[in-house]
């Protein structure tokens, strides 16, 4: 089967129904293995066991950013190619992106408390992540404001694209803003010097998170297609009754 054939929602549903249990199983196995390896990873000589928060924190940050990228491609799919599943993917992705970003913020706060002595600092990274979270919430709010799904899709697509242009500018300006106000006193992931005993579990965890994301995304897309069918049936029923 070619990938373009999946543009048909019914075929997509069949493929998704087939794939979701396997993906779910793979997610569980990779997660189990990644958590096992993360447990074995040595404690940091300074931070002790709290360094393990990184195994949740960093992958969720990656996924939070990856998700906007996916939404950008989906936005192009909606506006340029008029792909029938693009807006379904975009709608399903937004809450997932928000959830991963929130997870990143929360784990970051919990990690920051023992290490920096505070739940929050206005560090460049934290601040851009917070703004990303707010943008996700804005996108979700827009989805929930427009009743007609195809109109909502086009409005969200434009907002997503403008956000995709603005996000690197926000990142750059927040970096600049922070270095202006306070020196490089704040936490920075120690360059590239991560030991392999930590790096391998981290990459495993990232793989597990990505699998989880794909599984949840497919399931959410399936739900969204079914939800739209229910909506259409209801409209038909109402118009037949009237």
């Amino acid at each position: 089967m070619r990938i373009s054939e999946l543009a048909n929602p019914s075929r997509f549903l069949r493929a998704a129904n087939l794939a979701i249990p396997w993906l779910g199983g793979a997610t569980a196995i990779v997660f189990a293995f990644a958590i096992y390896r993360a447990m074995l990873a040595p404690d940091d000589y300074q931070q002790g066991a709290t360094v393990k928060i990184m195994f949740l924190h960093v992958p969720s940050a990656w996924l939070g950013m990856l998700c906007w990228g996916l939404m950008t491609i989906a936005a192009l799919g909606t506006l340029v190619w008029r792909h029938p599943l693009a807006d379904v993917a975009a709608k399903a992705a937004a809450p997932l992106g928000a959830a991963f970003t929130l997870l990143c913020l929360v784990t970051g706060s919990l990690w920051g408390r023992p290490e920096w002595g505070t739940y929050w600092v206005w560090d460049a990274r934290l601040t851009s992540e917070l703004i990303l979270f707010l943008l996700y919430l804005g996108v979700i709010a827009l989805w929930r404001t427009v009743e007609d799904p195809s109109r909502a899709a086009r409005a969200v697509a434009i907002l997503t694209l403008v956000g995709a242009i603005d996000l690197p500018i926000i990142k750059f300006s927040v970096d600049w803003w922070n270095t202006l106000h306070q020196g490089a006193s704040v936490f920075r992931l120690g360059g590239s010097t991560i030991d392999s005993t930590i790096l391998i579990p981290l990459l495993l965890m990232a793989a597990a998170f990505t699998l989880l994301f794909v599984t949840l995304l497919l399931a959410a897309m399936r739900n969204e297609i079914l939800r739209r069918r229910v909506r259409t049936l209801r409209v038909l029923q109402a118009s037949a009754a009237g």
């Binding site: 703004i131 804005g138 086009r154 434009i158 926000i170 300006s173």
Partner: protein
Amino acid sequence: MTPLTALLVRDMRIAVRVGGGALIGVLFFVVVVTLTPFAVGPDLALLKRIGPAILWLAALLASLLALDRLFASDHEDGSLDLILTGRAPLELVIAAKGLAHWLSTAVPLIVAAPLIGLLLDIEPPAQAGLVLTLLVGTPALTFIGAVGAAIAVTLRRGGLLLAVIVLPLTVPVLIFGVAAANVAAGPVPFGTPFTVLCALTLASLVIGPFAAAAALRLDIE
């Protein structure tokens, strides 16, 4: 008179006449700045230090005020459909409407800024910098906001949604606007943040009309 100038003149007329609300923006700006000392205390040294930031924040909020009417009133009375079917390119139409919006809401605010700055004990050189940054930076706010206004044009609770989706996108303008206005206090030369602010405005002058035009076409389709 070309269609674009006619539109500009029309929008300006609507803004300054009864019900247009052009001067409400300035009033809002003054009220927000006046409220700040009640929140942070009457310490003039502190107010002097955060004065440019207060003025920029107030200008950002004031620019949102009339924004939800930018296309919505035209949509309601049907003139937006005429504009869409007209021969003038929609992107230029939006640029003209944005210019009218900026002239009627931002310019009065920029004129009022030095007077309000006096209340916050901002020194004359810093005043000049502040006015310059507002002059250069506020068009970016208008044109980023125009995208949100175009997206929200047919929505009933558009104004509220507009603020939520537009404000996070204006973070860079706020950062560089305040940084350039704070020149007297900071170690960074005025030119660096100011040129970036100019760049942000120029970029939003291009991106804003195109994105807003796409949104309007899709909305009305």
